[in-house]
């Protein structure tokens, strides 16, 4: 597959998209882990939800 004289523009576009999507996925995954860790720490310190259910309960 030849990309012609403007190959650098095409490749940069696809790399930019891949980078931004990877950053979004990474940010969401890291944020999720950090939030679950904070919820677990709060529960271990003795704070409980009014419903009595675990704050990290996803079911």
């Amino acid at each position: 597959m030849s990309l012609g004289p403007y190959a650098s523009f095409i490749v940069t576009s696809y790399l930019a998209a891949a980078l931004v999507v990877a950053l979004l996925i990474g940010w969401i995954a890291i944020d999720y882990r950090s939030l679950r860790r904070r919820l677990r720490a709060l529960e271990e310190s003795g704070v409980a939800r009014r419903s009595g259910r675990s704050a990290t309960d996803m079911t």
């Binding site: 095409i10 996925i25 940010w27 969401i28 939800r49 079911t59």
Partner: protein, 255 residues
């Protein structure tokens, strides 16, 4: 499970736990198919291989507007129905919409340089999309600046609905003004002007990016619900600590 059940954040979390693996798998498969089809298209007779940038640029440009439309619907949910998940949905969508808009601007510039001879031109389409990007950033700053989530939600909802005026301006800017950007070639009266060889990979990529948005949005909404749980537990902890302190100070006072 009915739609009204989803108004309960706990039920929504339970649904996301089951839904996310399927959404992620479907997004990955569709993206791989789209990328394969994009790589296999023939060169355009005028643009050559640079036409391949279209398969990244156009889906991101469409989604930049679609995400704002989703946020506008959520804003109505916040202001009119006070749906508990409406502000969660809007807040979670903003960084994703900003990212798609950023990609539309960057890939548009990279496509413009070889085709137009310039990375940037202050024409109506490019400028209105830049304004959309700045509005996303402004909304994200607003949510961070106002500490009370209820007040932040209302202010953000009003700003989102005001900003929705920009959507038809972006869409019709190429018809209303004389712009460097080409007019609509897919969603237009009289049908698409694109050849099927380009149209099919473009639609597959657009569908793949839309699924990507849905997957990321559901995951970001789950995070936002957990963030609000953290906040409410922290407030309960602070209230309990303050009650303990006042009880201790009352006990230590002389009778």
């Amino acid at each position: 499970m009915t739609l009204i059940d989803l108004a309960n954040p706990t039920r929504f979390l339970s649904l996301t736990a089951r839904l996310l693996p399927f959404l992620a798998a479907a997004t990955t498969i569709l993206l791989l198919v789209g990328l394969y089809l994009s790589a296999a298209v023939p060169d355009d007779y005028q643009q050559g291989a640079t036409v391949k940038i279209m398969f990244i640029h156009v889906p991101n440009a469409w989604l930049s507007m679609f995400v704002w439309a989703v946020m506008s619907a959520s804003a109505l949910g916040t202001l009119v129905w006070r749906h508990p998940l409406a502000d969660v949905a809007a807040k979670a969508a903003a960084p994703i919409g900003a990212s798609f808009t950023f990609l539309a601007l960057v890939t548009g510039s990279l496509w413009g340089r070889p085709m137009w001879g310039t990375y940037w031109e202050w024409d109506a389409r490019l400028t209105s999309v830049l304004i959309l990007f700045l509005m996303y950033l402004g909304l994200m700053a607003l949510w961070r600046a106002v500490e009370d989530p209820t007040r932040a939600a209302r202010a953000a909802a009003v700003l989102t609905l005001v900003g929705a005026v920009n959507l038809p301006i972006i869409k019709f800017s190429v018809d209303w003004w004389n712009t460097l950007h080409q007019p609509a070639s897919v969603f237009r009266m009289g049908g698409p002007t694109l050849d099927r060889a380009f149209l099919i990979p473009l639609l597959v990529m657009a569908l793949a990016f839309t699924l990507l948005f849905i997957t990321l949005h559901v995951a970001a909404m789950r995070n936002e619900i957990l963030r609000r749980r953290v906040r409410s537990l922290q407030m309960m902890q602070a209230r309990a600590a303050s009650n303990d302190m006042s009880a201790a100070s009352t006990a230590s006072q002389p009778a």
